[in-house]
Amino acid sequence: MNIEQFLADPSFEGWARQSNAKDFAQWESWRAEHPENIEQMDEARALIVGLEFRHTIESKTDKQAEWDALSQRLNLSKRPAKTRTMNRRVWWSVAASLALIVTASWWFWPKGHAQEIKWLTATTAYGELQPVRLPDGTLVTLNANSSLRYPESWNAGSSRQVELTGEAFFEVTHKTDDAPFIVKAQSMEVHVLGTSFNVLARHTSPVVSLVEGKVRLNHIKSSSPVMLSPGETASFNEINGQFNIIKGKTNERTSWRDRRWVFDHTSLAEILQRIEDEFGLKIQEIDQQLLSRKVSGQVSTKQKGTLFMALEALLDVDITEENGQLRVED
């Protein structure tokens, strides 16, 4: 008999571990009759019994703290989750302007008042993209006509919260203390652990596309949060109170960062909405049939002129821009 055959026989373990008297007696007599198998038998026993190692205290960590962190992340605790009622301390009182506000003055703000967290707002104009580096190192690429509110600093270990209107791509820095990163966009919350993702929060319910890592979404009208995996895009359906999750197509959602739009059976209606949102052009009345025309491919958005030319070619339409108005004709 070879090693594998010994291991495959359940009664052999009874002999090896001396845990079953009948098995032990049987294999002992077999062993006496087959001395040529003794070495193999002992090897097989060594494989089964092995050695026993036990971890010392040093290799342990605070299990309770780990459970607390997990139950908070999953909203399992019975206490109201802290993240739901955001501590609104002193809000940045200046209304969002069209220019990116990162003034030098906040650097010199007195640091003495521990309770007062200063909030900053970064805003982009039409057609403008802006990278914003947050105090924790997280990089946010703000799309055109969007704004992001964030505090000038975060306390170690406390959750990092920001508020978004418009669209942005987040590359979140993972903190060693596991401080969660939370994006509030309209009625939705995105909870993050070291990851990159896109949030679009303009008209309808926000749309979140995850590129890598893991995020959890909460909506004030949803009974339970939902987890997103890379490559998935989620939005909240206000009517049935559920999250819609679709796989793939995250590339379409994030290509704006390279000043490219990627279309996959995208309707002209969606494209024109985007032009209105990101270039601030009003769309003149248009043939309804034309609006449902679909297009696939990609176009550069670096210059309005080339974008319109590409759309003309893709959709077989005429596009003219006049005094902030856009006319689209068959």
């Binding site: 090897e43 060594a46 050695l51 026993e52 299990k63 997990l70 399992l76």
Partner: protein, 184 residues
């Protein structure tokens, strides 16, 4: 031992069927320390280990309705945590070679529970164990520290049973070749 594994099965079923947080917590309590010790040594990073365990249990909670009821819970959790750990490691170091995983995995002489052996003998045994290939070390680690059988180890490492036994066999022969250290 039997009583505890029956309890684990019960908690697992409660989690699948009723989705109770208490069941998740019971599993977390039972397995956390072993999973933490394993992944910490596997990747030489306690923060990656903590994240990997958190992600594993977050998945359990998220997919509690879809979990298979007949599962070897222990092997499942070790595999899931290992996979999460590797994913996190690759994110931090995209160029990491899969063969480098478990490079840091090691055995401590003080942790060898063998009454008849002296500390010097324990040091010799662990010295041999620590010169095995990463794969052999990982297999024996799961066997010696966490008491998984070879079928379960095959599940954890996602390799076939035969290759687990072959690796373990070679490693055991190395140990047994040293006559002075024949403790099994």
């Amino acid at each position: 031992m039997l009583k505890s594994s029956a309890n684990i099965k019960k908690h697992w079923e409660t989690l699948c069927q009723e989705g109770k947080p208490e069941a998740l917590q019971a599993l977390f309590d039972h397995f956390h320390d072993d999973l933490y010790a394993y992944t910490t040594r596997l990747l030489n990073s306690s923060s990656l280990a903590k994240d990997a365990i958190q992600n594993t249990f977050a998945d359990l909670w998220q997919y509690r309705n879809r979990l298979a009821q007949e599962t070897v819970v222990k092997a499942y959790l070790f595999r899931a945590t290992r996979n999460h750990a590797i994913k996190l490691l690759r994110k931090n170091r995209p160029t990491v070679n899969l063969e480098d995983i478990a490079q840091q995995l090691h055995f401590e002489p003080e942790e060898l529970y063998l009454e008849e052996a002296s500390l010097l003998q324990k040091q010799k045994i662990t010295a041999i164990l620590n010169t095995l290939s990463p794969r052999q070390r990982e297999i024996l680690y799961l066997k010696f520290y966490d008491n998984l059988d070879y079928q379960e180890i095959a599940q954890v490492l996602e390799i076939n049973y035969q290759s687990v036994v072959n690796h373990a066999h070679k490693a055991i022969q190395r140990l047994r070749n040293n006559k002075e250290l024949r403790f099994f």
